[in-house]
């Protein structure tokens, strides 16, 4: 049995777990929609489509949607369920099986990716009444789903690191809070060139900025390959780093 097959089996189990705890999906959908409605409601009139160049003719909700997508993708439950597996002893059962150490950590991340695609699709549909459309077309929609899901995998991988290290739900939850600086030290209200100088520096150093800009370009414009390459490149590199660190931790796990 190959690592990929094992990861698929474990991913299937993680998805089943997600389907059996639909309540854990509620905040994943509610909070991002809440932010979309509130931000659009408050700033929609400051940035009317007709006179705001950076909206490319769409509403301010379209500009805000990437923040909501990234927020949703960062609400994954992989790490908390991993802590449960560790506390309940099931993780030891899996570790005592001849399962490749990579599959042990990648299984849940695969499930996280699938959930990310579904949640992104749902959010795209919810955003339709706010006048949001994906300007880059069908290919753009696919890239949007994939990029958001991949971010979910990266962030899930980061959370799993904390879970493996701390083996505590409280510590894992606390670790998840780094998402707030990551999400808000970005050009999330206006494009980067309109930010104040300190904010612009922070946003430029923040990898989430480039993921957000890639998502935004897909919604507002024709495919911008340079922006997309940066966004996918960052997610790809971070993804590889997260998986490698996870595997290292599982190998030395005592």
């Amino acid at each position: 049995m190959t690592t990929v097959q094992q990861a698929n089996l474990l991913g299937g189990r993680a998805l089943r777990e997600g389907l059996r705890t639909p309540e854990s999906l509620a905040p994943t959908l509610f909070i991002p929609v809440f932010f979309l409605v509130v931000n659009f409601g408050q700033a929609g009139r400051i940035f009317p489509s007709s006179t705001t160049d950076f909206l490319y003719g769409q509403t301010y909700a379209a500009f805000q949607l990437p923040s909501s997508l990234l927020l949703a993708a960062s609400f994954g439950s992989a790490a908390l369920y991993l802590v449960e597996d560790i506390e309940g002893g099931y993780f030891d059962k899996l570790r005592a099986s001849p399962v490749s150490r990579s599959a042990l950590v990648i299984g849940r991340l695969l499930a996280e990716g699938v959930k990310g695609v579904v949640i992104t699709a749902v959010l795209l549909v919810i955003a339709l009444p706010f006048g949001v459309s994906v300007a880059s077309g069908v290919v753009g929609v696919v890239l949007l789903l994939v990029l958001t899901a991949l971010w979910g995998v990266v962030f899930g991988g980061f959370m799993q690191l904390i879970a493996l290290k701390s083996r505590s739900a409280a510590a894992t939850n606390a670790g998840g809070l780094v998402f707030f600086p990551l999400l808000f030290l970005t050009p999330n209200f206006v494009p980067r060139e309109l930010l104040t100088r300190p904010m612009e520096i922070a946003a430029t150093l923040n990898p989430v900025t480039y993921v957000m800009e890639a998502l935004r370009s897909l919604i507002l414009q024709d495919p911008q390959w340079d922006v997309l390459t940066r966004g996918f490149g960052i997610v790809g590199v971070l993804g590889v780093i997260m998986v490698a660190l996870n595997v290292r931790l599982v190998r030395s796990y005592d």
């Binding site: 049995m1 089943r16 309940g88 099931y90 030891d92 059962k93 005592a96 399962v99």
Partner: protein
């Protein structure tokens, strides 16, 4: 010195040690344990709470790094070929390791597939084990709702999916009612009868007496007695000049430096 072929040993540990390093300093949980378990036997590993039984089991089952010494299980070195060892062993730890959100059947089928079975083979194997351990009625309910005894039996079943060469059971009957305990004993005998070596830890000396061909007693991280129950009893009888064989309880108390009087005294101190 009789030459023993390494292939006939299911478990072989020499100088096995584990030190836990924590903020409060280092705990020497296991300090140089030598074990030789012959293939095909039921081996009992006894010792008071905190003696190092679970730590030893976790090292032998690849779950924990080894501080010093070496261990071979089913002929393979635990540190150098952990995956090979994992393929050949079944493990049911002291805390039953189950996933509350799966059903018993799903858990067993997944476990079988992780050991390389096809979907159909896994379904068949899961059904067999559910019948064997009397879990059919609960098979399609989520494990969350299982009783403690059902969880233990399911945990044992999950250790058997791939018909392991060596089965490690860490206190398999703790917390079971007498009927469930007998089910587990029967199962251990049945598995052993088909050639699987069983390495089990227990707090129940009667259990060791009934089930085990040979036992080792560990105290404070060191082996203090090793042999067949009969040998250990005879040894104590000779040393004490007793008229009849002592019980395994007495052997245990003697080996771990606790006499009945001292145990009684400690109880009195607590109640005083």
């Amino acid at each position: 010195m009789v030459y023993e072929e390494p292939g006939t040993l299911a478990v072989q540990a020499s100088g096995l040690a584990k030190h836990y390093r924590g903020r409060a300093g280092t705990v020497e949980a296991v300090r140089g344990v030598d074990l030789r378990v012959t293939a095909g036997e039921v081996f009992g590993f006894l010792g008071p709470n905190g003696a190092g039984k679970s730590t030893t089991v976790r090292m032998l089952t690849t779950l924990m790094t080894i501080t010093a010494g070496t261990a071979r299980v089913a002929g393979l070195d635990v540190a150098h070929d952990p995956d090979g060892v994992r393929r050949r062993i079944g493990v049911a730890l002291q805390e039953a390791g189950l996933d509350p959100r799966q059903t018993g059947r799903e858990l067993l089928a997944l476990q079988a597939r992780l050991f390389g079975s096809t979907r159909a083979e896994a379904a068949t194997r899961a059904q067999e084990l559910l019948v064997l351990l009397e879990l059919e009625d609960a098979a399609d309910r989520r494990i969350k709702g299982y009783s403690g005894g059902m969880k233990r039996r399911l945990d044992l079943a999950s250790a058997l999916v791939h018909e392991p060469e060596v089965l490690f059971l860490d206190e398999p009957t703790t917390g079971l009612d007498p009927a469930s305990r007998l089910t587990v004993w029967d199962e251990v005998r049945r598995i052993n009868g088909r050639g699987t070596t069983v390495f089990l830890t227990t707090q129940y000396l009667e259990e060791a007496d009934q089930l085990c061909d040979r036992i080792a007693i560990i105290d404070a991280g060191r082996i203090v007695r090793q042999g067949t129950p009969a040998e250990l009893k005879a040894g104590l009888r000779e040393r004490r000049g007793l008229a009849v064989d002592p019980t395994l309880d007495e052997v245990f108390l003697d080996a771990t430096g606790r006499t009945r009087e001292r145990v009684a005294g400690e109880v009195q101190e607590v109640t005083a």
